[in-house]
């Protein structure tokens, strides 16, 4: 396991060096998106008003408050990524997104896109919203406000992590691996439990 401190935008090389099980922290720009944001982009054909190329995205519906015309953070947590699997390949291929941050991981099609274009899936610690909120320095912009809390958010973050590399650009998938290992151990566990 290696620990990396990165800076956005990420290059292909930044991503290619990461292997599942590594830990990442990063500084810079992070875009928040969710189910509705991506339905708006891909199913309803709205072009993002800002370039996502080289940046990480996070699956979130943040709790924010608008004071004047500035948005302030209240509580930003992360949701389960499996629901949004079909959006990841085009996010990577068409918009150049380098890293997807969420919990629970995604499936083969996303893994294939990461392998092909040089991307990763970074698993955040679920349930630790207080920490995540603290690491967001500023909500710089909210695009498509009418979609809030599932709009497109531009956050500036510092030391954002720890994030575990759960899917890498070499075909590695940490959740699949952990599950396969559990299944390998299962017969012995059953036996010890007296249920074999």
């Amino acid at each position: 396991m290696a620990t990396y401190h990165l800076q956005t935008p990420f290059s292909e090389q930044d991503m290619r060096q990461l292997k599942i099980g590594d830990i990442v922290f990063f500084d810079g720009t992070l875009f928040g998106i969710r189910d509705l944001t991506q339905i708006y982009i891909f199913d309803q054909n709205h072009e993002p008003p800002v370039s996502l190329a080289g940046f990480p995205i996070i699956h979130t519906a943040p709790s924010l408050r608008k004071v004047g015309d500035k948005w302030e953070k209240i509580c930003v947590g992360t949701t389960t990524s499996t629901r949004m699997d079909r959006f990841t390949p085009p996010l990577i291929e068409k918009y150049g997104v380098r890293a997807v941050i969420g919990k629970g991981g995604q499936y083969q099609q996303s893994l294939d896109a990461m392998q092909k274009f040089g991307g990763v899936y970074l698993a955040i610690v679920g349930g630790a919203a207080s920490l995540e909120t603290e690491l967001i320095e500023e909500v710089e912009e909210v695009f498509w406000e009418h979609l809030h809390p599932e709009a497109l958010y531009k956050f500036r973050v510092k030391d954002f992590g720890p994030l575990t590399v759960a899917m890498d650009s070499h075909g590695g998938h940490r959740y699949f691996e952990v599950k396969a290992e559990a299944e390998r151990r299962l017969p012995e566990i059953y036996q010890k439990l007296g249920v074999a």
């Binding site: 396991m1 620990t3 099980g21 590594d22 830990i23 709790s63 509580c75 930003v76 947590g77 389960t80 919990k103 629970g104 991981g105 698993a123 610690v125 679920g126 349930g127 630790a128 919203a129 207080s130 920490l131 909120t133 603290e134 992590g161 720890p162 575990t164 759960a166 940490r174 959740y175 691996e177 952990v178 599950k179 290992e181 559990a182 299944e183 151990r185 299962l186 012995e188 566990i189 059953y190 010890k192 439990l193 007296g194 249920v195």
Partner: protein
């Protein structure tokens, strides 16, 4: 009946909801620290450290540990000598949960089943979930509040086995349910298991099991032994913190049980996440309230 001020109940319902979301119980904190000590994989240890930081930030800033404010559950124990009007208490629990949401303020998570409209007050038809029990020889009203997030609640499962399936089927069911839930319930948390009763009671027992302080063993020695066995089995899977691999996959397995029908052998699993949130208020007849876990 003495004149009891029910505003006290409403205030306690509000305060326990907020306390549960912002201040994790000491037994949960200690269990996470013990887990950190026992964990051997560096990446998994890093995850525990993030959890400790999240708890500390919530302590210092009085903010939510997790963004999912859940559905409110109130487990009520009414002393036989408590001067109570149940209907009024029920009304005040609804009000208190709603006021916590609006006045803190935090995101409401309740929604209509068909329109999917969220009233942003954590309640609505049929909510909060309220359990009532009655205690002889006590003059207090005890309120245990649990906000139940969806990541863990969605992993709930139950099965009506038959007597011929025996104890082995129950144990296998719990272990298989844990493996199937993977990273979803934000492990390592508490695995609540209900055994016996009817279909509805067995799930309620599993829910009461996650309400116990972490690691408090069943009073029944045979059941306590099953808890230990299941804990060891689950930790042996290597699924680990956040399902990313490690030695610690659960903080504890708790089992609650009841007698069942001669032809039945029901089991239920209800999982609680690593931020195993709960808060307690003990209300005395003179209006004094003590808060705890």
């Amino acid at each position: 009946m003495v004149d009891f001020d029910y505003n006290i109940v409403e205030e306690a319902a509000k305060q326990t909801y907020i306390k549960a979301l912002t201040d994790l119980p000491p037994d949960v904190r200690q269990a996470l620290h013990r887990a950190y000590e026992r964990e051997s994989q560096p990446a998994a240890k890093e995850i525990f450290q993030a959890m400790f930081k999240a708890i500390e930030i919530a302590d210092n800033k009085k903010t939510l540990v997790c963004q999912d404010t859940g559905l409110p559950i109130y487990i009520m124990k009414v002393g036989g000598d408590f001067p109570w009007n149940g209907a009024e208490i029920k009304k005040r629990l609804v009000e208190g949960a709603s006021r916590a949401t609006l006045e803190f303020p935090f995101r409401g998570s309740s929604t209509h089943i068909l329109t999917r409209i969220n009233p942003q007050n954590s309640v609505g038809h049929g909510l909060p979930v309220i359990y009532w029990d009655f205690v002889e020889g006590s003059d207090t009203l005890e309120m245990l509040m649990i906000p139940k997030g969806s990541g863990s609640e969605n992993m709930s499962t139950m099965k009506m086995f038959i007597p011929a399936d025996g104890k082995a089927a129950l144990k296998k069911f719990v272990l298989d349910a844990y493996i199937a839930s993977g990273s979803n319930p934000c492990p390592p948390g508490i695995i609540g298991v209900g055994i016996g009763g009817t279909a509805d009671l067995v799930m309620r027992l599993a829910k009461e099991a996650i309400a116990r302080p972490v690691g408090q063993r069943s009073e029944d020695p045979e059941i306590a032994e099953m808890e230990v066995e299941l804990e060891e089995a689950i930790n042996a899977t290597g699924i680990g913190p956040m399902g990313l691999g490690g030695d610690i996959s659960t903080l504890a397995v708790h089992i609650e049980w009841a007698y069942t029908h001669i032809t039945q052998n029901p089991v239920a699993v209800n999982t609680q996440c690593w931020p195993a949130r709960r808060a307690r208020a003990t209300i005395h007849p003179d209006g004094k309230v003590e808060y705890g876990f």
